[in-house]
Amino acid sequence: MKGLLLKDWFVIWKQCKYLLIVPIVFMLVSAFGNDTGFFAAFGSLLLAMLPMTVMGLDERSKWQNYALTMPFSRQDLVISKYVLALIGLLSGVALNFILLLIGKTAGIVSVNAFLNTEVCLVLGGLYISFSFPILFKFGTEKGRLWLLVSVAVIAGGGGALFSYLESSGFQLSDIQIPALPVLFPLLIVILLLVSAWISVRLFDKKEF
């Protein structure tokens, strides 16, 4: 799988550098613009979306046809994209966390960095779990339409939820359910595993 990830990295670095810059700008806006966390979540989501761009380029060059002649299974091809998405999400979330801590230390933001990070992880995980089976089933061209809907629902819904909670005088930082920080990531891990299982099954039926 290392070979597949290395290929993806070369493609991202050479063809999609701008996709690495936009999320960073979003995170800077979030950390130093006293944002509610929407931009941070969206920035992390954008990094989790990198595999979709790479999959589009793979389809264009028919890389998958070629990769299947190499010592990779269909499962390797699917799982490598999940790994790439998680690497993107985790690096985005880690960067966002650091920026928020800096912003908080400087007294610019009042957002709870830990909670914000967790929300970003949950949203990113939700996005990957929901969108990948669609992309593996329909390909990026048709899948993109489905994806637009999913991004609008997840990011818009998340942002709206934050705003609503805060306008109701409810501070996210005040949430006192001790199990919540453990429960959410656990749920996401389960969702990702189910999603990967579905994607592998869908991709297994494809013919090249």
Binding site: Q15, L57, L68, T69, M70, E207, F208
Partner: protein
């Protein structure tokens, strides 16, 4: 051990059917898969590589079923598809880095030797390569991980004769090793005639024959005669004919022809063209 065995392999699409394909490629041999465009050559190769799932039949590569632990077998197969499907931004040097982490037996020095031999630039992106350069890069990859079997789908199509000749020589070189085998598909019969020990002829999804090339050339002949002479020949001896108005040109089985009639040695192209006309 056979390099490749197909037994009654079938695959049906809505508008095309590949039916009941069986052939054996013995280890150390080169087999050419010939057929017109759309005959089913690429589908056969995709079935062998399990890129397309067979409806029925059995396929074994280097002694193993291609749907069972195929990744390990793929370590020993070098594949060149009809196009070189590398991402457009990748350079030949980056291909080396990727393959180093893909094949256990990747031979970096051999790969760079091939790059030099083919005069391929290692820092130029793939999109800037000509078609010949792209195919040469794919061939360099296929030959640089100590494969025992090469599966080549039209590797020479669209290339100029000089490059084609260079590539055919390279395949020759590969089979100097006794355990090395090649399955190569092409509709450029002259390339295959030069290279192959066996010829498999696919026509409209059916395998019309799979024979040793020399046996084919011994078995068949081209008979040029008058219409009256032609009528005296047993119909079972004729595998295809052409009536030019002035006379008949026919592909015949030498052993079934009455003594005294002059029969010329055919080319593989003659054999397949006449046979295709019959079906």
């Amino acid at each position: 051990m056979n390099a490749l065995e197909l037994k009654n392999v079938s695959k049906a699409y809505r508008d095309f059917q590949l039916g009941d394909i069986s052939f054996v490629l013995p280890s150390g041999c080169i087999m050419g898969l010939i057929g017109e465009n759309g005959a089913g050559k690429s589908t056969t190769i995709k079935l062998i590589l399990d890129m397309v799932r067979r409806d029925s039949g059995e396929i074994s590569i280097l002694g193993k079923d291609n749907q069972n632990d195929f990744c390990r077998v793929k370590e020993e197969i070098g594949v060149v598809l009809d196009e070189a499907y590398f991402p457009e931004s990748i350079t030949a040097r980056e291909v080396n880095a990727i393959m180093k982490h893909t094949y256990h037996h990747w031979d970096e020095s051999q790969y760079f030797d091939y790059l030099r031999r083919f005069s391929l630039p290692d820092k130029k992106s793939f999109k800037e390569f000509s078609r010949g350069m792209k195919m040469k890069l794919a061939i360099a990859v296929a030959l640089s991980h100590h494969a025992r079997l090469l599966i080549l789908d039209e590797p020479t199509s669209g290339l100029d004769p000089i490059v084609r000749d260079e590539i055919v020589d390279l395949f020759y070189e590969f089979t100097r090793e006794e355990s090395h085998s090649i399955l190569i598909s092409s509709h450029i019969v002259s390339d295959l005639e030069k290279l192959c020990d066996y010829i498999a002829f696919l026509h409209r999804g059916k395998l019309l024959f799979c024979e040793e090339k020399d046996r084919l050339l011994e078995q068949y002949g081209i008979l040029r005669c008058s219409k009256s002479e032609f009528q005296s020949i047993p119909s079972g001896a004729v595998r295809g004919f052409r009536d030019s108005g002035y006379g008949i040109e026919a592909l015949v089985e030498r052993q079934k022809i009455p003594f005294g009639l002059a029969v010329d040695t055919p080319g593989i192209e003659d054999i397949i063209v006449f046979m295709a006309k019959q079906f």
